[in-house]
Point group: C2
Chain length 135, copies 2
Amino acid sequence: MTEEPKTRMTKQRAAIVEVLARGGFRSAQDWHDLLRHGGSTIGLATVYRALQSLADASEVDSVLTDNGETLYRRCDSGSSHHHHLRCRVCGAAEDIDIPTFEAWASGVAAKHGYAHIEHTVELTGVCNGCAQRSF
Amino acid sequence: MTEEPKTRMTKQRAAIVEVLARGGFRSAQDWHDLLRHGGSTIGLATVYRALQSLADASEVDSVLTDNGETLYRRCDSGSSHHHHLRCRVCGAAEDIDIPTFEAWASGVAAKHGYAHIEHTVELTGVCNGCAQRSF
DNA sequence: TTATCTGCAAACATTTTGCAGCGAG
DNA sequence: CTCGCTGCAAAATGTTTGCAGATAA
């Protein structure tokens, strides 16, 4: 039988969930720094493992930056598939809807004879606040 | 003064351009394997450096996979900004047009007060041929 | 000639894994 | 008591860099 191990709520995992609650996209290492900074002695590997399992459980979103780092962010649980508009300067992110995009993607795929489509859409920019600060 | 070094057409660079000509997205290491397989004794670092400089010169496209690898492909020179529909199985890729996407992206960005927008759109699937082969 | 390119190996950065002990259930 | 979780350090991966010698222009 295929039996999934059940997740235990440890102090470390709780700490991770807590810092994640403050929102924003950060790399695993950044979250780790944040935790240590807050007094935790949690290990980096543990953070990676926890973020991985949380991502599997769809409790965090993960996106890939241009330089190959993975960023994680607490996911609005219950909310289904969506995308983000992220500020390159301050890391803030808005959840955005793609009303026509999903349909469009399937359409293009079908037209080319492709099946099992997956898509990555990442929008980045400079938010209002950061724009005023920089220019 | 800022003086850009000018590119020399060496045997290795020519070999790289040649294998790139067969099309498809491949990782730097895959291109390297392909070259060695074809009798070249080119070094991996050279392949990385060449792909980098070709990418700077917009002669190759590069995309980032989910597992952090960078894939490179000869770019249809002259053709402007576009996106791809790539087969996860055989690596084939179609250039696709996004008529409404660019406009939509700017719209969403404006609505949220974001400027200097950049976007990444990557579609992957299983192409007709591979689908028949697998199922 | 001479500045760029090359191959090699070592350096890097990020993420994953092995292992012995800890601790939630 | 069990079995998953933890921290540490070591391994793995993908990419970049330093250097001495080769080579295009």
